[in-house]
């Protein structure tokens, strides 16, 4: 047993972090917030970098990596709030022509909601009767679709839950980092606020949530056990949403402004938490495994 990242995995993570730093920096994020649309150029660059074809065999033009590597890549996507139906397009590579290359945008209906409906070239599942809503997340357009949500039953379905959880872990890590760097700079009462126990303890709690969720998500990528994936999603959702709230608190009044990125993390985390296997169903799934 060696439950640490291997050398290739560390190199992959580093490479993806650098790539996303180039393709989607903070300026690009704020520009996208002002005009939310799938950036086709960015989508093709992601395709060219192997983001969608990551798990396709090399003889089919893919990268030939596995679910643990996909989890690392989606953690990075979550860190920078990369927008678009990334999970659905990644999972459709190999079955929907053009998805692997990033030429086609694929979305999927989940839990009575469908994201990016108007922007997608291909919609998996029935979006009949879809009604647009004013999405809480300015970077995830949403439609409501009628009918009760179906239980997750396929391998792809569980993989979608897991990759979404990985994005949540990335977001939780990012908000921890933002809170800590702000706490080290911002001065009040003649010292940086990171020296105050009340602030330190918020930050420590954020790290604990992130590490617990990360261990759960990475283990689930190895076991691919539905109960373990459900538990990982539950903890990752909680880490992303609670960390964003604590990060906002550490930022004080600044955190409540549109200019701070904290609200973008919180709103995306809410969407991801609701879109696939929300808490109640995740808890029921894990309970059924007892």
């Amino acid at each position: 047993m060696d439950f640490r990242l291997g050398e290739d995995q560390r190199a992959l993570r580093k490479g993806v972090r650098e790539l996303l730093g180039r393709l989607f920096d903070r300026e690009a994020l704020r520009a996208a917030v002002d005009s939310p649309a799938v950036d086709r150029g960015l989508w093709r660059e992601l395709g060219a970098a192997g983001f969608f074809a990551l798990r396709l065999p090399e003889e089919e033009g893919g990268v030939g990596l596995g679910l643990p590597e996909a989890v690392l890549v989606f953690e990075e996507a979550g860190r920078v709030l990369l927008p678009g139906p990334l999970v659905a397009t990644h999972l459709a590579a190999g079955s929907v022509p053009g998805a692997a290359e990033g030429d086609v945008v694929v979305t999927e209906v989940g839990e009575g909601l469908v994201p990016w409906l108007d922007e997608a070239d291909v919609v998996l599942g029935s979006a009949e009767g879809a009604v647009p809503m004013r999405s809480v997340d300015p970077l995830t357009p949403l439609h409501r679709v009628p009918g009760a949500p179906a239980a997750v039953s396929t391998t792809e379905g569980w993989e979608a839950v897991l990759l979404t959880a990985a994005e949540q872990v990335g977001s939780a890590e990012a908000t921890t980092g933002k809170a800590v760097s702000y706490a080290r700079e911002r001065e009040q009462f003649g010292q940086v606020i990171g020296g105050f126990q009340a602030v330190k303890h918020l930050c420590a709690g954020m790290l604990v949530r992130t590490e617990l969720a990360r261990a759960a998500v990475r283990a689930a990528s190895l076991t691919v056990d539905p109960v373990e994936i459900a538990g990982a999603k539950l903890l990752a959702d909680e880490a992303a949403t609670a960390n964003a709230r604590d990060c906002l608190q550490v930022h004080g009044g600044m955190g409540f402004t549109w200019e701070a990125d904290v609200h973008l993390h919180l709103k995306r985390a809410w969407v991801r938490a609701e879109l696939l296997l929300p808490a109640a169903r995740a808890e029921e799934t894990v309970a059924a495994g007892l």
Binding site: M1, D2, F3, R4, L5, G6, Q9, P68, T176, V180, A183, R184, Q191, V192, G194, G195, F196, Q197, V199, K200, H201, C203, A204, G205, L207, V208, E211, L212, A213, A215, A216, R218, A219, L222, T223, E228, A230, G231, A232, L234, L235, A280, A282, E283, E284, T285, V286, A287, A288, G289, L290
Partner: protein
């Protein structure tokens, strides 16, 4: 990233499992948990069995992964835990093994492994609490002995211990964290008085210890004089890093028992309670994965567990208390019956966020040592 165990590790697991299956049915009945002398005898008897079978030193000499397998298998089989040997096996032993001289290792380690000698921990003092370095127990050097005077509190297992890992101030003029030394003190030395403290669970598992000019040979000092704080940090990282590993497995077993009880008595039909058990199950599964991550790190670096132990302990101690709160919902009026093991364990779990460094201190450690936030209060 690999969760599979090597063939060698699996072989160790299989042999251990077979041995446990044969050994456990021959164990005597468990003693009354409030009767510490009986518990000492029981726990030391179990340790002797482990020694004879070649498993006694698994906490020190085995690889971190082997230790993980040992703790997992013994818990899954429902074997006794270290109990009264907690300090000897998980604190004092590893510390002497890491910092002691050859003579000290030869004198103190074998009796711990055989279950012949029990240790207690003389770190905390009245009024000091989590501020461990503010200790006042002082010594006067007299020839080849330190003459120790002062008092200790929260001394686990003092009532039944043969030895005490004792922190004393050897240089009162030095800065707070310097001038401390780590001594092995015999509990039967003249001048040692033990006054058991009764916990809220009714047990006397810890005590106050009064020291009135107790002579401790200078040869009993582990590490250099005035270097005891560093030695102590080694001890504490063992405590946080590995001492709780097996308990995660125990919690997963308890949660399974609880779910069976809930299905039998109908409380499982309550969705709020059922979902609560589901959430706890997710947390303990994740804590086990976090343990495997920490053990992999320790295995790779060969070092003692670092601040990662604090991350684990923060969530674990809270989750364990939540487990017993959920249990109360399943057990109903039975949760008020002190004759039930659950009830006693529920009371005991209240110490988890205090002992071995409070959750508040652990958050300081995480914030300062991992996140790099400045010291300060």
């Amino acid at each position: 990233m690999d969760l599979a165990y090597s063939a060698e590790e699996e072989d160790f697991r299989v042999r251990l499992r077979e041995w446990l299956a044969a050994a456990l049915p021959t164990l005597p009945a468990r003693p009354d948990p409030l009767d510490w002398p009986a518990r000492r005898a029981y726990d030391c008897g179990w340790q002797r069995r482990l020694y004879d079978a070649g498993y006694a030193d698994v906490h020190w000499d085995a690889s971190p992964t082997q230790r993980l397998i040992f703790l997992e298998e013994t818990e899954l089989a429902g074997a006794p835990y270290v109990g009264a040997n907690f300090v000897g096996l998980l604190h004092a032993g590893p510390t002497i093994a890491a910092e002691g001289t050859a003579e000290q290792r030869a004198r103190w380690l074998p009796p711990v492994l055989r279950g012949d000698e029990v240790w207690c921990q003389g770190f905390s003092e009245p009024d000091a609490g989590s501020d461990l370095a503010s200790l006042r127990t002082r010594v006067v050097r007299d020839g080849d002995a330190y003459v120790v005077s002062g008092s200790k509190i929260w001394t686990s297992h003092a009532e039944v211990a043969d030895w005490c890992e004792l922190l004393v101030r050897t240089d009162p003029g030095a800065a707070k964290h310097r001038g401390i030394s780590w001594l092995a003190m015999p509990m039967d030395a003249p001048g040692v008085t033990v006054r058991p403290l009764r916990t809220l669970a009714g047990s006397t598992e810890f005590a106050e210890v009064f020291l009135d000019e107790v002579r401790v040979p200078v040869a009993n000092r582990v590490g250099e004089e005035n270097d005891g704080w560093r030695v102590t940090m080694v001890t504490l990282s063992f405590e946080r890093g590995t001492a709780f590993v097996g308990e995660v497995v125990a919690c997963r077993r308890l949660l399974g028992e609880l779910a069976r009880t809930a299905r039998e008595n109908g409380t499982w039909d309550d969705p709020v309670l059922r979902r609560r058990l589901g959430r706890l199950s997710a947390e303990f599964r994740a804590l086990w994965r976090l343990t495997q991550a920490n053990v992999s790190e320790a295995q790779a670096t060969g070092g003692v567990p670092g601040a990662g132990g604090s991350v684990f302990k923060l969530h674990y101690s809270h989750a364990r208390q939540e487990l017993y709160e959920a249990a109360a919902g399943v057990l109903g009026p039975d949760a008020l019956d002190l004759g039930r093991e659950w009830t006693l364990d529920r009371l005991s779990s209240l110490s988890y966020t205090i002992a071995a460094g409070t959750s508040q201190i652990q958050r300081d450690i995480v914030a300062e040592r991992i996140l790099g936030l400045p010291k300060g209060r």
